[in-house]
Symmetry: C2
Subunit: 324 residues, 2 copies
């Protein structure tokens, strides 16, 4: 009986390491390359096959394998021409970097457009590294699996199945929309947290009075600063647009505060937050929809699922089931 | 043996109710007035003496009593002339409203400058009302007890002892500094949370991708909107100044994001957040200082404790002990 081809992970940091542990726990064959011998040794304990040399790992990959680039953004960009050179056409390339347009551009420039599929599991902690990784980190994680106009649908399904096999749910969208949404819900909150924290002297009156509101508003400023700076840099074009839009809104809010007319803003914020929490808690109703992938309109329908805040929960018999 | 005069609380909401329960648990005599008969009945179960009529409660107060106004800001402002009319000179007035300048102005206008001492225990949840109150809410709470140039020091000590007796620690500052600090660490985070939540469509892609960063950045937008609007309105003059300062900083941050030079901002935010957390966890070192209240410079020294992020932990023999 032929065994399934391995998943080969480059970079066993928090996300790559957690994915490796999760896939191993699910019985998949997992290969891994990392520049740290110590990390590879720790991974070996969990039956993850360690490759000290990247070239050796790539050369050994059978047809149908999946390579997961789980490095920081800059390394991922630099790896694309290497992967184009050292992997076979039958090998699919994905990544788990938190910004997608920059990696997509690098993949296209390297001639990998037809076998690259970008992904981003929405998970993390303020910690980092394999020591902080765990199979639970990606439990029920929401994965963006990017579907561009030129993405090969079979390869897309292969990455989609990786995410589903890791216990995740899949949001289909494209790199541009992903980066726009990520700017709003992750990168902008990071900038707000940094500016707020930078303005409050921890050894003064405000620092002493700061409690829950401040703690939550600045929590992500506790993330390793080089990781935050790299993340913000990676999405800087989209983030700049989003920041300009937020600045406009905040100026309007300032006028409303000055004029004693904040009630409308507060009511809208409250209502959105309440609806978001209800969806999060699963108390909002969802309808299962089956999308056969052979249909001519499949790509468009998949993207509509993502745009409406829906996600794919399973794949079988050439079709996916989405909740929207 | 004469018993200590009672503490009379007006308004058994989240803070007033929690204070009443906490003082009862510590053995103090607690009187309470609330406009809700149901709330008074619930309070009676805990041996809090209920007064359906405010006038009756105020008329019965012995010399040396303390009245705690624990209503929303607008009611607190409206109550000051009533208290001036219906309470004796020997009764001290305090409040637990989250903004201090507006209440202080109302107290002064009512002729209560010499027996009003503003306070603000830094505690809360997104819930409200006596049903959500509990003696634990104020456990180890940080209380601002406002010390103005014209505050009577004996009355200030009386309110300070109330806070210490409730298991809190006391930050001495004045109403203006309190409101400035509160704008930075509480009211500004509320505005940021509302603007962010208002801009993210919960039923779209961004809502589906939103996870920890968004959840924490918008948590306080889940607070009852009428309470948030009233709080922001109550400190609108100071909050407008703080928002303008924050807007400047955020514009600079936007330029830094665009230019790929956010590293300095992120490093500063990280360092402040780390120091704040260390102080919070008690791992930063503090030195006990004894301040005799009879000293001519006592008022100035107390304010310096607050300005340095320190607090008072005990009072005995005409002196307080501060950690700074």
């Amino acid at each position: 009986m032929p065994t399934a081809p391995p998943v080969a992970i480059i970079g066993l940091g928090l996300i790559g390491g957690s994915l490796a542990l999760r896939l191993r726990a699910a019985g998949s064959e997992v290969w891994a390359h990392d520049t740290s011998a110590e990390t590879l040794e720790a991974a070996g304990v969990h039956d993850i096959r360690p490759f000290p040399g990247l070239e050796g790992m790539l050369a050994a990959l059978p047809d149908g394998s999946l390579v997961v680039v789980a490095t920081p953004l800059e390394d991922a960009v630099a790896l694309m021409p290497v992967l184009a050179l050292l992997t076979d056409d039958q090998v699919t390339i994905t990544d788990v970097v938190s910004v997608k347009s920059a990696v997509l551009e690098a993949a296209r420039a390297a001639g990998l457009a037809d076998r690259y599929v970008g992904a981003h599991p929405m998970a993390g902690t303020t910690e980092s590294g394999f020591a902080a990784a765990g199979a639970d980190l990606l439990r029920e994680a929401t994965w963006v699996v990017a579907l561009e106009d030129d993405t090969d649908l079979d390869r897309w399904v292969q990455v989609c199945r990786l995410a589903l096999g890791a216990g995740g749910r899949v949001v289909p969208t494209d790199a541009e929309w992903h980066d726009h949404a990520a700017a709003w819900i992750s990168h902008l909150p990071h900038v707000l947290a940094e500016v707020l924290a930078a303005n409050v002297e921890p050894r003064g009156l405000a620092g002493a009075l700061a409690a829950g509101s401040y703690r939550d508003a600045t929590r992500v400023a506790g993330t390793r600063p080089e990781l935050v700076a790299a993340m913000l840099n990676g999405n800087r074009r989209m983030l700049t647009e989003v920041l300009e839009s937020f600045l406009d809104q905040l100026e309007q809010a300032t006028v409303a505060v000055r004029d004693g007319s904040v009630a409308d803003l507060v009511a809208r914020g409250y209502e959105h937050r309440r609806q978001w929490q209800a969806r999060r808690d699963g108390s909002a109703s969802t309808t299962p929809v089956r999308i056969p992938l052979g249909d001519p309109g499949a790509r468009q329908r998949l993207r509509e699922v993502g745009a409406a805040g829906g996600f794919i929960v399973s794949h079988e018999d050439g079709a996916v089931t989405a909740l929207a």
